[in-house]
Assembly symmetry: C2
Homo-oligomer: 223 residues x 2
DNA sequence: CAGCTGACAATTTGATCATATTGTTGGGTC
DNA sequence: GACCCAACAATATGATCAAATTGTCAGCTG
């Protein structure tokens, strides 16, 4: 009764519009709805997403700051193209970041954490069986992101997520062109190592996972 | 004569206002004009910097995205406080990033590159002698940033610069409270190793430099 | 037929304004 | 004297608009 606004009684924090737009655009980049080289305009997206110009502008700015989009000098914004040199940097950075966080996650994960992770992996397998690339990419990202969260190292996690944002479009290209979904599943090894509390085995497994994925990207890039 | 605009004949790319504001705010964060915990408001900065509201808003958004500022839930934005756990992440990340890039920079630097680097280091020494903290911080940043540039790994460089942005305010606190400027100068070792083309020596030197600086921060943090 | 020039269209940019939400302060009551 | 409530002030948000800039295309000239 003391609630002043009659709109909705319990809305603790209505997410701002620019935040929502940002997340939608972010997902579009992450899961390959936007291909490398695609041009994006504020007005175009504004109409396409049925949103105001202001939130779209801010979301684009933020994505540019994070490297998910590229400011093409003259006033053109597009999804960046990935070069082989970039891939080398991705590989090196993710090999380090992911193994680092994997060790900590193995140390810190509780029983229910591991179950939740296994559940994501299950959904991932389902997506593979159904050949649903979009779902595969989403669950794969969730899997790794959960490891980042479990490691409880927000700064490293932020760096890693920035990397995902940068090679998201590339991943879609990889998956579209190659079958790429029928490889030895490192995720199972990761789960086993975590259950056993074996940090080094988990780190080795995720190292393989990262390297494997990146090799695919490299192969797809060189046609 | 064919120039349509009479304003200025040869302005290839007039930098947008939000870019300028961003850089000013960035420097303020990077060089300690804003202390950890300081609150920032759009209107306040708008008046303080004598700029429109729109560019300031976008610049703040960008800095939040990069982790240089923090969105405090209720609509308050402030300079993030650094915790000991954060420092641990900084140390680990920079030890890896800086050594990685240092090796490549050593391999790629030309004679004139090394001279330019030495020149920055000279200016840094001057700042130390004059006890000019601001100049010290600026030149120190320039020194490391040039190494990043020389390494020609833009993605890793971006990650490292993001880290600098996050612990910039902390650095100022460190320098203010401790003398901190009279330590064995690793920069000289770095320059020597680069001249000798010794990647590993350069990497070891910068590892020490990073570790040393971070130890200072840790010490300052625990009072 | 090719190259250049001029005008038009599309887009970004930055300011201004209406609105909503939140923190705060002053007054009243128990 | 302490606590609660209401009004106010400050701030962020998002839409709208004017201005400037740039890419593009048609038409003209050599």
């Amino acid at each position: 009764m003391s609630q002043t606004s009659a709109k909705s009684a319990r809305t603790p924090a209505p997410p701002p519009a620019h935040e929502l737009i940002y997340r939608r655009l972010r997902d579009m980049v992450l899961f390959g709805d936007l291909a490398p080289g695609d041009a994006v305009t504020i007005q175009g997206l504004s109409q396409n997403l049925d949103a105001g110009v202001t939130p779209v502008r801010e979301a684009i700015r933020r994505l540019i700051a994070e490297g998910a989009l590229e400011f093409q000098g003259n006033r053109r914004v597009c999804v960046p193209e990935t070069t082989p040199e970039h891939i080398d940097e991705f590989v090196a950075a993710r090999q380090w970041l992911d193994t680092q966080m994997m060790r900590r996650a193995t140390r810190k994960a509780s029983e229910s954490d591991r179950q939740a992770l296994a559940k994501i992996d299950k959904a991932l397998d389902t997506a593979i069986q159904q050949n649903d690339i979009r779902a595969y990419l989403e669950h794969n990202f969730q899997f790794h992101q959960m490891i980042y969260d479990l490691s409880d190292t927000p700064i490293l996690a932020g760096m890693a997520e920035g990397l995902w944002l940068r090679f998201g479009p590339m991943l879609r290209v990889v998956c579209s062109r190659i079958g790429a979904l029928d490889l030895p599943d490192r995720h199972k090894e990761i789960l086993q190592a975590m259950d056993a509390g074996d940090e080094e085995a988990a780190a080795a497994a995720i190292w393989e996972d990262v390297t494997q994925g990146m090799d695919q990207a490299r192969a797809a890039l060189s046609d």
